[in-house]
Amino acid sequence: MSETTSTAGPSAASAKRVPVEKAAGQAAAELDVTISGIEHRLAAWAAEAGSALAAMSGKVTGTAVDKLIRPVVEELVQLPDGYAAGAGFIANAGLLGPERSYIAWWQGPDLEPVDALANFSPNSISRYVKAEWFRIPVETGRAHVTGPYVDFLCTDEYVLTFTHPVFTRPDGLVAGIVGIDITVQRLERGAMPALRRIGARATLANADGRAVVSAASDIDAGDLAAPDEPCRHYPVGRTFTVWSDAAGL
């Protein structure tokens, strides 16, 4: 295929020697490193936040949560070539009050606060319990990726939200969630070079088979797609897959 020989590689001669499949495998591995990197960073953050909240021994305040979370968000959103458009923490009911949640979430390089008005509401938990990015990690106690979806709460952008439960005790209830919003637009810039090396119709899809980024012009982000067999399947992160060849549904 023309992709493998024309792509900028070490040199045209050595690129020819690398079998197509091996080059594609390397490209898929790069995508996996990117997505897994986000997932691992989030898991580490959840663990740190959990111990710090546990150390507050039941006296958790909004100000203390802000102080704990904001520096990490700052680091994530200001990372050069980073993917995070926004990030933060949302308390489960019980951490600060019975019906009360608490949102410590910021977006953009200027750290614009998200939904902070809700922190003045005594029943703010009602705002999050139905949202997939909050409900699933709280119910299952496991990490989750929501989307791609249009995020009405924060950016009104097309995003993926990676969320992870936060525990203050290993066997305890979920105290809250930490999460990172990744815009599909930024992911597309990072993923397209790798997808092009995999195939002219290579597609990164979520667990539901919805395209996140596709090299094919007739598959848009958000479209339901399927592998066009026979094709190669590469796992990317915990739940995503790259199909070397895909068709829109």
Binding site: P113, A116, L117, F120, S121, N123, R127, V150, G222
Partner: protein
């Protein structure tokens, strides 16, 4: 320039002005009004002081102060002095029929018709794409926004706007979704009026079921004509009411 007594944020006149000109103060007021309408903030509840409000919304203290005074002038909040003082959400602050009627009569038939055309164009585009992209989970969420016929007019109004927002969410277009949100803000409390009429609730309830079915069955044309009919039902009701004044 035609501005409603409540300020530009809910005014239909805003439809003819660029977004940027709405200004930060109106934006803050709009957020708080929205929080009240959706039940996030309730009557009698204390609001943060201007420093806290400014920090929470990421605006300057001057902007927060101006927003609070604008909200006070429009009766959304009241202020008490002294030790237990501060700003509180006023009683009877929910959108009322009287306020909606005032808003309706400040508008010309031309403005109502033009807004409806814009709303139909955007909502129909959302519905068409949604019918291509829907999955089972989307449909379950969409149906959860179909209200029961005997729900009160406030919850009907909220459910109708949430239903269309969910159609935009299923379409997965950020631009169309943002435009829909802006149009709903421009419509303001107007949509409360027809929701008090059981005939209108009955008619639109059927349409909502049809739209959900068309999006589920991946039928873009039927979904588009369904949401157009939904908005036409609202516009017809408003124009009929508007005519009674003359």
């Amino acid at each position: 320039m035609l501005l409603s007594p409540k300020g530009a944020s809910r005014s239909l006149a805003a439809v003819f002005t660029p977004i940027k000109s709405r200004g930060l103060v109106d934006e803050v007021c709009g957020r708080i009004e929205q929080a009240v309408e959706t039940g996030l903030l309730t009557s009698g509840q204390r609001l943060p002081n201007e420093t806290e409000l400014a920090a929470a919304l990421g605006v300057s203290a001057v902007t927060a102060r101006e927003a609070l005074s604008q909200l006070r002038a429009s009766g959304i909040i009241r202020t008490a002095r002294g030790r237990s003082g501060g700003s509180f959400i006023a009683d009877n602050v929910l959108p009322s029929r009287e306020r909606a009627l005032t808003q309706l009569h400040e508008l010309s038939r031309l403005q109502i018709r033009d807004l409806a055309l814009h709303y139909q164009a955007i909502a129909a585009a959302c519905a068409g794409v949604a019918a291509r992209r829907s999955d089972a989970a989307d449909i379950a969420t969409l149906r959860s926004f179909i209200p029961a016929e005997d729900d009160d007019s406030l919850s009907w109004r909220l459910a109708l706007s949430e239903f269309l927002l969910e159609v935009a969410a299923i379409a997965r277009s950020a631009r169309l979704a943002r435009e829909l949100i802006r149009l709903q803000a421009d419509l303001g409390t107007l949509t409360l009026l027809p929701c008090a009429d059981s005939g209108y609730r009955g008619r639109t309830g059927v349409i909502l079921e049809d739209v959900a079915a068309a999006i589920e069955a991946h039928q873009p044309a039927a979904a588009e004509s369904g949401v157009k009919a939904l908005i036409a039902a609202t516009t017809d009701w408003l124009l009929t009411e508007h005519a009674k004044r003359y």
